[in-house]
């Protein structure tokens, strides 16, 4: 049991945290949501491991947890301001262009950010993004289309290659 769980954790945890970080803009919230989801998976592993795709279950639980936590955070929005550096994005000195991209992503509506994070960082097909978020595939396609239009402008403005960043 533990080895299967360990394998799932090692293959999915980092990717999930990164996607949730991009979606919510807060690495700590993202890590907490991902860890909560894995804790639930461990707790119900006998059942979860029998699912056709345990990773899909994990993603859905994590996204729901994140949504719950964000509802709490939003009540304090007027007092909280986070910069890209605060949330673990590459340091400005290393990748100045990444800040523009981060700002562009942060400026997207929340639904578009989730769609972009799950589709591009987790490599999920549209149908799976839709399942994870509980919306129709057409909605996801619309979100991705709108997001790409915004982000394309940033990529065109800054076409210098980014240095590869080591994991923190």
């Amino acid at each position: 049991m533990a080895s299967d769980f360990d394998r799932l954790f090692r293959s999915e945890y980092s990717r999930l945290v990164r996607a949730l970080t991009l979606a919510c803009g807060d690495a700590e919230l993202a890590a907490d949501a991902a860890q909560d989801a894995f804790l639930q998976a461990h707790r119900h592993w006998r059942r979860v491991s029998g699912y056709l795709d345990p990773a899909a279950w994990l993603r859905r639980v994590a996204v729901n947890r994140l949504a719950n936590r964000r509802r709490g955070v939003r009540r304090l929005q007027g007092f909280v301001a986070r910069t890209p550096h605060d949330v673990g994005v590459a340091a400005p000195a290393d990748v100045a262009g990444s800040l523009d991209l981060w700002a562009a992503v942060a400026g997207l509506p929340r639904q578009q950010r989730f769609a972009v994070a799950l589709h591009y960082l987790l490599d999920l097909p549209v149908s799976e993004v839709a399942h994870t978020l509980g919306v129709a595939p057409a909605t996801v396609r619309s979100h991705l289309h709108s997001a790409r239009k915004v982000l394309a402008g940033v990529l065109e403005d800054d076409d210098s290659p980014l240095p590869r960043r080591t994991a923190r």
């Binding site: 533990a2 769980f5 360990d6 954790f9 090692r10 945890y13 980092s14 990717r15 945290v17 990164r18 991009l22 890590a31 907490d32 860890q35 894995f38 804790l39 461990h42 707790r43 279950w57 859905r60 639980v61 996204v63 729901n64 949504a67 719950n68 509802r71 709490g72 955070v73 009540r75 304090l76 007027g78 007092f79 909280v80 301001a81 910069t83 673990g88 994005v89 590459a90 990748v95 990444s98 991209l101 981060w102 992503v105 929340r110 639904q111 591009y120 960082l121 994870t132 978020l133 509980g134 919306v135 790409r148 982000l151 394309a152 990529l155 980014l162 590869r164 960043r165 994991a167 923190r168």
Partner: protein, 249 residues
């Protein structure tokens, strides 16, 4: 464009390092093992209130522990007697509840809330902004204001940003208590794929009303009673509302 966007996004958000991943994995399995032990002990002890009391004391003694992932303190749930009555064991709140470390350009009320919850969670009842005056409102339990003020001073001492004006209001429910109820609700109806129960569509702590806010598909007396019974809460601890299903978005 799609490939370039994917490449740039992958570079943009760093993931946790291998050491951190291993530490979190150990933390999760350790918490799960501890939870299974607690469940087993509670099951054995359920027949005798004497032994159940001992379990509560042990659990309270272990309430604050070192977090493997962050090396920082995390706050576990409240003692277990109500949980045993509910049949729901209360796990630690989070595997990586991070103590507040002030930073960033603006005063962070969220980090203050986490700091207060982590240090004086039994006497603080919430932190929220007053949209009219811009003041920070801190709910405190009767007699708890000195401790909360001291904890806030500690927080502010390490913050480079001055605190906004603060107003203290007296409340009845501690954040620790509300967190425990929140965790119970999530554990009782946690499966997003599964229906059943009283039809809960949203759960969250509402600092401004100092209650656990529960959104019900059908806000009926029967469903409200079912929620209160399942999570072992009193009516003054939970606020109910009609709530349609909430998209994860």
């Amino acid at each position: 464009m799609t490939d370039e966007l994917k490449r740039r996004l992958e570079l943009l958000v760093p993931g946790p390092g291998d050491d951190e991943i291993e530490a979190v994995l150990r933390s999760i399995t350790r918490h799960a093992r501890r939870e299974r032990r607690t469940l087993a002990v509670v099951g054995i002890a359920a027949a005798t209130t004497t032994v159940l009391g001992a379990v509560a004391v042990l659990d309270r003694g272990d309430g604050r522990e070192q977090d493997v992932a962050t090396g920082q303190g995390s706050v576990a749930s409240e003692p277990s007697p109500p949980a045993a009555e509910c049949g729901i064991a209360d796990p630690p709140m989070s595997t990586s509840t991070t103590l507040a470390t002030p930073g960033g350009p603006l005063y962070s009320a969220w980090e203050l809330r986490e700091h207060l919850r982590s240090t004086v969670g039994d006497v603080v009842g919430g932190v929220y902004g007053d949209g009219t005056t811009g003041a920070l409102v801190i709910g405190v339990l009767p007699g708890g204001r000195p401790a909360v003020e001291a904890a806030k001073r500690d927080f502010d001492a390490t913050s480079s940003v001055p605190s906004p004006s603060v107003r203290y209001v007296e409340v009845a429910n501690s954040l620790n208590r509300l967190e425990t109820l929140n965790a119970r609700a999530l554990r009782a109806w946690t499966e997003p794929e599964e229906a059943g129960g009283p039809g809960i569509n949203s759960v969250g702590i509402d600092d401004s009303s100092n209650t656990l806010s529960v959104g019900l598909q059908d806000n009926t007396p029967t469903n409200r009673a079912a929620v209160l019974e399942t999570i072992c809460a009193t009516p003054s601890e939970v606020s109910f509302s009609q709530q349609d299903p909430v998209s994860a978005l």
